[in-house]
Symmetry: C2
Subunit: 266 residues, 2 copies
Amino acid sequence: MPFSPKEFAMQTWIRFQTGDGEVGFGRIEGDHVIEYDGPGHARPQPTGATLPREGLRLLSPCEPGKIVALWNNFHALARKLEKPVPAHPLFLIKPASSLAGPGDAILRPRSYSGKVVYEGELGIVIGRRCRNVAPDDAAAHIFGYTVVNDVTAGELIAQDPSFPQWCRAKGFDTFGCLGPVIVTELDWRAASVVTRLDGAQRQNYPLSDLIFSPEQQVSLISQDLTLMPGDVIACGTSVGAGSMKDGAVVEVTIEGIGSLVNHMRG
Amino acid sequence: MPFSPKEFAMQTWIRFQTGDGEVGFGRIEGDHVIEYDGPGHARPQPTGATLPREGLRLLSPCEPGKIVALWNNFHALARKLEKPVPAHPLFLIKPASSLAGPGDAILRPRSYSGKVVYEGELGIVIGRRCRNVAPDDAAAHIFGYTVVNDVTAGELIAQDPSFPQWCRAKGFDTFGCLGPVIVTELDWRAASVVTRLDGAQRQNYPLSDLIFSPEQQVSLISQDLTLMPGDVIACGTSVGAGSMKDGAVVEVTIEGIGSLVNHMRG
């Protein structure tokens, strides 16, 4: 791997709520959390407080203004779908209103009784404003990585024959699950995404199969639209995505980051 | 028209930049602006300052977290495209990063040499958080109306045969033009959208031809995703959208709101 200058060594960042209901940011050190006055990507200062990790409720580890969600970004899935490898990242936008954090319920939309699909994915958390970022500069604009469940109302996408409803199908409230933490360094080429539904493994695919690497995604997407600190690129899923029944527990794990657990509520 | 309770009588709100570079909000009264400490939808208080209207540079009149942009929302366009009237609003999301204000340049994306299309539209500015809003309550959640140019890199939409790139084609920086003002009351049923390209009229369609009214849009979309104060729903365009050459000046006018003027920069 080429050397990529980083301001931080490997760190793990969380956003949390205390038992008193206060929301904070922090960096994990062992079984404690060093509190900061803002999210990691924002050059925060330590507040001086240190909290025991136990008893903190984890929130989505960042608050993206937008989630740029890729489709068809793994060779294995492209082969299975018999789709060509795209020339540019194919994406849609999940709005900030779709955000959910670790442990949160995924809410079935009132208007929709069809299949709700889990898609375990790697999430890139942007650290610096990105506009027309050169490929070699992309790594320096990535704050870190998180786990994404890119929840999708699968049957809506093609419900209207003339307009594929990607944004609606993936944009419902609680359909953008992020967490549990952000790690600032991840050897993603060596990591896999594992999704378990009610404990049974449903996805297990290597990130080395990515069509566009995180750095390529940041560079190419930043030619289209400005990415802001805290924005997330969901790298797309690979084979094994499937539907969740109401009440199901879904767990997406990337070794080195952790497990994002959510449940479906009908 | 049914009585719709409003906290304000007809008001005109702007966001502006002074000659000193300060950004502010205000309500127009004749040739002056009453300054407020926040945008109109946020229950702002007057700062006590009154500024002459002349010399203020108008900015986009709100700062939406997202622009929900409808497709196929006019009967005349549906007939022309030979598409059925949709059962639910068909939409994509333009990100906050696409925002441009009155007078701003529309920037041709570096990566794209194809047609850039103007689409003159009515914009609904959300005034209160909307989630599962009943149709009869929708009007009370609308702060007001603005003019939208929903700029589109037309040839990108179908460039990839397997994934229509609506978000990319409409999500480029500067492709979400809003302005010049927000009016809190508009008899939209009596108004038309007129688009002029280098002075020549290209669109002139009545808003009474809408498939989903503003109230229906707010109610139905709020079943899908939470709309926040300052968010904008772009109601979709009708017949007459077309492409702009680099250097062209495009003016979208809705009587009762005003004219949104932008220019293409290659």
